[in-house]
Symmetry: none
Subunit: 220 residues, 4 copies
Amino acid sequence: MQYSDVKELSPAAKRRIREKQERYETILAAALKFFSERGYNKTLIEDIANEAEVSVGTVYFYFKNKEDIMIKLIEDIGVILRKTLGEEFKKGEGNIDGFLNAGRVFFYKVCKKYPEKILLLMRESGCQTPEIEKKRQQLFDRLINDLIKALTKIKERYKIEYKSKMSVEVIATIIMGLFEKISYHFLIKNGTDLEIIGQDVIDFIYGGIKNLVIGDFHDN
Amino acid sequence: MQYSDVKELSPAAKRRIREKQERYETILAAALKFFSERGYNKTLIEDIANEAEVSVGTVYFYFKNKEDIMIKLIEDIGVILRKTLGEEFKKGEGNIDGFLNAGRVFFYKVCKKYPEKILLLMRESGCQTPEIEKKRQQLFDRLINDLIKALTKIKERYKIEYKSKMSVEVIATIIMGLFEKISYHFLIKNGTDLEIIGQDVIDFIYGGIKNLVIGDFHDN
Amino acid sequence: MQYSDVKELSPAAKRRIREKQERYETILAAALKFFSERGYNKTLIEDIANEAEVSVGTVYFYFKNKEDIMIKLIEDIGVILRKTLGEEFKKGEGNIDGFLNAGRVFFYKVCKKYPEKILLLMRESGCQTPEIEKKRQQLFDRLINDLIKALTKIKERYKIEYKSKMSVEVIATIIMGLFEKISYHFLIKNGTDLEIIGQDVIDFIYGGIKNLVIGDFHDN
Amino acid sequence: MQYSDVKELSPAAKRRIREKQERYETILAAALKFFSERGYNKTLIEDIANEAEVSVGTVYFYFKNKEDIMIKLIEDIGVILRKTLGEEFKKGEGNIDGFLNAGRVFFYKVCKKYPEKILLLMRESGCQTPEIEKKRQQLFDRLINDLIKALTKIKERYKIEYKSKMSVEVIATIIMGLFEKISYHFLIKNGTDLEIIGQDVIDFIYGGIKNLVIGDFHDN
DNA sequence: TATGAATGAGAGTTCATTCAT
DNA sequence: CATGAATGAACTCTCATTCAT
């Protein structure tokens, strides 16, 4: 198909494509709502269909099966997380502040903007089907890898060493776990002041990393 | 037969009581195995019965329902965790080393001795029935409370302050999340050296706490 | 297509609605057959499904649960009984013959046309679930109430009195019990001549009522 | 076994026989309580055992199975009913008053003294197992037969005729149904005055019978 | 005799998925 | 493309009955 073909779509065809995309998003949004509220298992396809104001059959037109919906949601969250945090870290060009700022962005931006998505990832995506577990694991592995790469960049930038051969992986894992628990713990207490908590968390992380590092974070 | 003898159980009665207790434990062990391996939902009562070499009816003789089995398992883990860690902290009489040692005990003793129990608590106990979720939440709340109390004792001991009014809760929550993720992450990689990791984690925690504290950990 | 057309259902849609209604009736008929033949408890959902030539799931698509099927059957019988007998009584404009004719209609029409329905109501609807018992009781109470109202109309029409303050309720209850037993007793003996029996019963009722009345059934 | 053997029973053996009989009665009483209160199906053997303060196994020592308990209860009620009403009728030497008095005895004595037994017979003994149904049917048939015999005696005594060949059976069946419904209807309304009702019922029956009779109840 | 733990067939209900219209 | 009725395998829980002690 050549570029010129795109232009040849009739207005009606364009509308149909747009509507199809919209319907897809609507179903995904309905699923997100129920999965994060009451869990994967307790959400019926019928619930999702009703919420999205389509029929059960339509849900199966857009998604292979229930599992598929969850996987698409996890992928969606993965893209948001990796993109947002990755870009923030890049701004710092490998310095420790860029790293910590990425952490701040998680609390101040991502958790605030997409609380259900974070809740879904952190709580409901576990313990379901093997395929979902795989996807979830894959995302966590990638996030941990992103962290490991960032920590390695920092190491090179400051010419520091980590205490043990496992330290980098440990730090990355800790940060993931801590984000998971903190976001869950404080997201379900709606009134909590995420700003104060976020700062405390970042301070904790900074202190923790410093204590696993030989050398310090001074630009020469 | 004298009156006092009435209180004494016959050997046969004693044996029966012991056997009953043993069967209860056998069923619980079978459930632990399957729940931690393949998850709550994918475990059939029949699986548990087969593994424990009893009939389905017997499982229901000892437990109200499937949920009840899980709840008993969570309670069991809760007792082990709180008792072991609590005792270790007490040894230190409120100093920071006692606190950190309790963390070490988690990795070196509890995770090593009861890997399935920890896996069950950390991964499979979430997102199932409301009753299970309640029990799990209750246990995590208690563990966080234990941590908060310990951190408060430490504060009094060293006459220090925490940076913000939320710091204590944040530290406690971070430690829970970090234990959860680290234990899960490294328990499923069987070959991992928990000793090195444990030490890194403890160092991270120590650094993190120090960075949220005004004052330092010196006895006068 | 004009706006008014929107309200009109397409032939296909009409057919689908009709088929749905028919399937509902088919399931109900299958349930009636088994419930009245072998009882509520001994009837399996699978039996009903097989008889109605649908799957078990389809039964649950049309009815909330087994109880619900029985309740719908009782409601159905209730409508038939109250409508048929009520209309017959109305024809008599409150005279004693209309009342007795309604009794005749019960034997000559209802019992003859719907023997299983009557058997179901009279025998199988008792002693099952609380919800069913409630519905059954409700229907009997309404039937007794219909009778009480009719007896009160008769009293006004002929300016008579009943012997005691309980007489009206007693007569109504007797008639219900007598219908119940007679219909059951003679319906299960297939060959019985319901015409003769019906006449005897009506005569008995007439004699019984007369004997509880002060005054007589003469129009002035 | 000869009569003299009876004397040779040791006091301990006698006590054992007495206790055995008592235990049997206790279990039966417990079953009666639950069957009449919550129905046959909803009563567990365990309930009966607990109420009777024996073990489940003991229940099965005294009774073949659950069905057997119910059957024994029905037999017990049968004996009471037939004996009490039969004796009352005999007193009248075949006159109509003896017949009606037997009816009075049903309300004034039997229903008052054994409300649960009557409730059990009238409501809970139906629609259960075939064996129970058979027993219940058998009892009702016998009671109806007793009534038929009585009505025949009355016919001979007064040299009367009944309107149709079915009249006697119809009257008998009516009386059974009416007793069933009336006793149930008014027994569950505890406060009701059974005396007034009883009199109304007897009057109704008398009127009903008179109206199915050719001739009248005058001694020559 | 008495006990009560053990049994396991049986039954109701759920719900992801399909497919004719 | 959309619909929603139909499917039926799957799973939990019940409870009368048995039997070793």
